[in-house]
Amino acid sequence: MAAVLRIANGSAFWGDQPEAAARLVAAHPDLDYVTLDYLAELSLSIMAIQREKDPTAGYARDFIDVIRSLAPFYLRGGKTRIVTNGGGLDPVACGRAVADELRRLKLEHVRIAVVTGDDVIANLRQDPAAFSNLETGAPLSDVADQLVTANAYLGARAIADALRDGAEIVITGRVADPSLTVGPCMAHFDWDITAYDRIAGATVAGHLIECGTQVCGGFSTDWLDVPHVDNIGFPIAEISDDGSCVITKPEGTGGVVSLQTVKEQLLYEIGDPENYLSPDATVSFLTIGLEQAGPNRVRVAGATGRPPPPSYKVSATYRDGFKAHGQLTVFGHEAVKKARHAGEALLRKLAVRGCEFRETLIECLGTGASVRGVASRMSDTHLVETVLRVSVAAATKEPVERFTREVASLVTSGPQGVTGYAAGRPKVLPVFGYWPCLIAGKHVQPVWSMA
């Protein structure tokens, strides 16, 4: 058993750099694992909509491209294993597609496992009263008819079992992001599921690498000082049997791994740092110590773990109407005043024609609109240019559709200096409400099988 397990991340989200995994194994053919994360909060609802049009589109098809890009590596005898949640809503179909692709590539010997059991939409439909919203306390019965997806965040156990049985590619649906890293550690170090301090350490490692380049200088406060941002390396966690790790990145890549980049990523999307809840352990971040162990090497140790909560977190989504955003640039004297006036005129025109919206918003980008009213320019009358962004939302599609057809009218009826309409008519977008809730552990049965 190797003393250190090397796990890299090669995708932070659905749409991330498709060649990242191939570049990682080219630089480090001895990597034990590459994890690929495709699922943000709302990704599954987008897959559900895709699947309505095409029954084979319930997973991240980008992952098939990744497999294809890794073929030369595997044909040369490469051994790096893959763990991904790219199975999305339909890990079984994803597994089948990967198997087909591997056959075509003469790699049929590569063993694929599929983890399922996260889809709990039937439970929610059967007993809506039991699934109130964690954020608002509202009962699910309010939106039960519009449910699109409901998936429990599974833990690392089924992944670990599949790996112990010899799987080389593990495809899951919804699992907690760090569990993609914890699973390989459990299998490699043969940790018991109650080794909470070690599991906590691996959970922290998984949390640090799950957002790809974000721990290597991407999205950093001092981004302008980050070297070679055109080629920021994807992260590697070198994890030891005690759960501690070193975060680093491939030689020759851009970006930086420093105390600052690791600190920023440690607290990214975190609530109470003493009680980070995962299905594998409840983790305290308050005992973690960091140390710069070399150039682009940060040692992370000391995370402590306790048993996980008895319930799984469920991320459910429901249909919640439609929206659209239209953008035009306004240049000239009193640009902001003109832009705001044009946006108001557009909405008034639609109102007169009978369009009813539940919500509208006019933003003038360039005036601090990202945090409107918080930090705003002392005066925006000096601005000679702004981007007018008008947004509408409605329960039905028709008024939103109408809005998308009317935005262009400002090109000829708006102020002189309206420009930037090259992107064309805005798209009508479905709105998905997010419904976080809990489900008792006994109702969730994670299972895995070889594809």
């Binding site: 954020e135 600190k263 607290l267 955003h325 609109a369 990202s370 945090v371 939302a393």
Partner: protein
Amino acid sequence: MIALRVIAFARSGDKGDSANIAVFGRSTASYLWMREHLGAPVVEEYFRALGVGRVIRHDVPNLEALNFVLPRVLGGGGSRSLRIDAQGKALGMALLEMLVDVPRDLIPAEAAVPATPLPFTPH
């Protein structure tokens, strides 16, 4: 008065309609100053215009950081929010523009970090 970014760095992210902003001292002294002066009510007041709920602050001494959780700050969050920053990506940068009155010895002498704030003003 200086902008908070002179003595701190930050990171923000979303969870549904909530966001968190972690703020880190650039030095131990800066962290200790923030721990004393950057309370949850100060941050809540700063982001009031976005409709934020009751802000909670978690102290993270081992990282010399404060982690603020801001409920209902994203105009619905996820795909529901109509705002340009529906996911709170800008909130960390916004907090770092807060003007603060810190002791002179906390302000780094080197020019690496610009010490003059942008013309932003809190409402």
